[in-house]
Amino acid sequence: MIMIEALRGLTYYKGVPLWRHALVIQWALQIISGVIVVVLVTTFFTNITNTIQDREIPHGFSFLSREYQTPIGQHFLPYESSDSFLYAFGVAATNTIIVSVVGVILATALGIVVGVARISGNWLVSRTSLIYIEIFRNIPLLVQLFFWFYVVLALPPVRQGYVIADRIYINNAGLSLPWPSPSNWDAAWVWLAVALASIIAAMVLYHALTRRETLTGRASYPLVTGSVIAVAIAVAGWLFVSAAFGDAPFAISDPAPQGTFGRIAGGFTISGGLMALLAGLVIYTSSFIAEIVRAGIQSVGRGQTEAARSLGLAPMAALRHVTFPQALRVIIPPLISQCLNLTKNSSLAGAIGYSDLANVAKTMTQTAPAVSIYVLLAAAYLAMSLTYSLIGNIYNRSIRLVGN
């Protein structure tokens, strides 16, 4: 239809010459660029396919069920060399996810502290934050990682290591902490379910009480009541489960060095590589987050606080209900992109001997088809970055200005 219209228009067309017509130029540009890209991409992939066939490079995804047969350094899921490639990939992905989640939590907490300290009225406090930010933001992460790695390496061996309160061991094998370990799996699962239920109950109660407070104006103490109820249910559940199974669901397992060489057994050991990685990632990212927090809080105009105070809100209430929600709107989007950066930066782990996803994938290419592994790797990282975008988008929608 459109074509016919256009053709009919052409017969008695007297306007701008065709080669200068905006629509013609635009569409020609698009078609040319589209063709170029399509040709480039198809050449790229046909060439790869041809080379793979010519040189008889193994390809496909059948390797995934084969045994990986390579050890992985520290891992959080149980893993043995006889496990399959697919499972090893999952183990490595879990390693990356755990580092990212722990790193994001620590970096955000540290970043908020440093960022708030940066705008403190206390000269010493704000200067210390400024120096912290300017130092750690400007030094490449890899240099920081190597530095921490060699700091950990220079720690004394296990037998001569530092011991805090007979329970926490710091040495060149890493940091060993007491850790709850389930003494009876059935009891542990039952109690975990109870604990989860208590948290859900507390959240429901919190929302109900907040709503009551907003609607009626009567003080309802949602936070205090909610947490008391949660703790009460959890403690009651613990006692009940202990009585029913004749055994506490969890016991604290203390780390203890064993043998003359001193291998630490029991508890939970954060390996030296992981320790250096977390130290580097958290300190580096927190310096960026601190700047975001500072900019966010400073972006809220003074008039907002003054207006809130003149309406009779107490200083803390003004901060909580007026300044902070507005600052959060500015803080959250770049904060999420910093968290994504932290996740992607964790791929430097390989340089200091922690088996993250990128590092394991790189090792896998020695015994499995590289192209297939890259497809998996790209998919995994894109999935992570899409998850972050999703969180960001959900948040943006929830805080969108009404009427905008």
Partner: protein, 416 residues
């Protein structure tokens, strides 16, 4: 003249001691409230302990000999070894490149007239001259090396004179000479086949800080125009162009650089004929530039979005064509508004040049790490070495952000 007794001057008391001078400052900034006082004491104690241990480690315990041992190799890596440059001394080639940079710095000083350019030019000259007098023996550091280092001082002066007293003293000429010098430097470092004294040095031997700087300069100069093009493409009304730009930007931003670099090492040689893509440094440079331009595009898009629509409308109402509106009205303002973000991206790019270790290039950090791994007796000095590298990188990145602040201040002069 009224007599002094008519209007007796009120006795102007000085402000109380708590309001003026050092004491007043301390009251206002350190002890204004009880919790500020507590914070001040806690911070002072913590900082004191940290400084005490830090300084005593740096002065008494740390062994800084490893840096002197590595010396010039930190700057050029394996460039001047027997494999890279058989039968010749190639050290003068990076040094001559540095001289060209000094000339440019001198010109920038004369043209900009800003104290930032002056400080950087003088700083570079002073540091290089100071290097010439390092207490190495003449065997370790020859007279030629020392003379070429000292020559940076006249080079800066020559640049300054050139810009001040000849028609070359404009920003345009500095840009033209900058591009020209960059190509000359590439030839100097890479060599020309058949020219005596300039025998080719394979890129696999390029290394040290020189490699980081070369990659950073290339990436910075190329990623800005590519980023602008991508940003304009992403805001374009043409659906296909927009789609392509969005896909490119999001894929680049979604993956860690290290993975992209590694992919380029494995996939690109499979995809292109073998003679076309043997140079892994070239591929790394391309990936680094493209990766950086994706982030650059997002920064510039932010600037374009923050621009008041009235600007574009006014330009169109004045009869400017679409491309004129973009080039003369939107882009200059958008870029000026996001200079901090752009320079931040430049700094990121510079920091990212370290990742070429993944393709086996020995940049300054990887060279140091390999040195530590290969020489067990220096293992205990690894912390000192990386602390020193941290300082070196910090100086470069901090200078970049300092320049960005100065540029911003200059552009604001006529603006607000």
């Amino acid at each position: 003249m009224a007599s002094a007794t008519d209007t007796p001057p009120g006795v102007v008391l000085p402000p109380p001691i708590t309001e003026r001078g050092g004491v007043g400052w301390a009251y206002a900034n350190l002890f204004s409230t009880w919790y500020n006082t507590v914070l001040t004491f806690i911070y002072a104690a913590l900082l004191g302990v940290a400084l005490w241990f830090g300084l005593s480690w740096i002065v008494l315990e740390a062994d800084w000999k490893v840096i002197a041992t590595l010396g010039g190799r930190l700057i050029i890596g394996q460039y001047n070894t027997e494999f890279a440059c058989p039968g010749q001394n190639c050290f003068w080639r990076p040094q001559a490149s540095l001289l060209l940079v000094s000339v440019l710095l001198g010109m920038a000083w004369a043209v900009s007239g800003d104290k930032a350019a002056k400080r950087i030019a003088i700083g570079v000259a002073a540091i290089t001259v100071a290097f010439a007098f390092l207490p190495y023996s003449m065997d370790q550091m020859g007279l030629d090396v020392r003379l070429l280092l000292v020559a940076n001082l006249p080079a800066v002066a020559a640049g300054w004179v050139l810009a001040r007293y000849t028609p070359l003293g404009t920003v345009r000429w500095i840009v033209i000479l900058g591009v020209l010098f960059f190509l000359v430097i590439l030839v100097l470092v890479g060599g020309l086949p058949g020219v005596p004294g300039l025998q080719p040095v394979s890129t696999i031997y390029w290394g040290g800080l020189m490699l980081n700087l070369l990659l950073a300069v290339t990436g910075i100069t190329l990623s800005l125009p590519i980023g602008i093009a991508l940003a304009l493409g992403r805001r374009s009304s043409l659906p296909l162009v927009k789609l392509l730009c969005v896909v490119f930007i999001e894929v680049m931003r979604g993956m860690p650089l290290i993975t992209l670099l590694f992919m380029s090492q494995v996939l690109v040689p499979l995809a292109f004929p073998q003679d076309f893509s043997t140079n892994s440094l070239f591929r790394a440079g391309v990936i680094l530039t493209l990766f950086s331009s994706a982030y650059m595009a997002e920064n510039i898009r932010g600037g374009l979005q923050a621009l008041h629509p009235g600007q574009v409308e006014a330009a169109r109402a004045l009869g400017l064509a679409g491309w004129q509106t973009t080039l003369l009205i939107s882009l200059p303002q958008a870029i000026r508004n996001v200079i901090p973000a752009i320079v931040g991206q430049f700094i990121s790019l510079f920091k990212d040049t370290l990742l070429v270790y993944i393709i086996g290039m020995l940049d300054v950090v990887e060279f140091s790490r390999a040195f530590i791994q290969g020489n067990a007796k220096y293992l205990a000095s690894a912390r000192e070495l990386f602390l020193f590298l941290a300082l070196v990188f910090w100086i470069f990145t901090y200078t970049m952000s300092y320049v960005s602040r100065r540029v911003e201040a200059h552009l604001r002069v006529g603006h607000r």
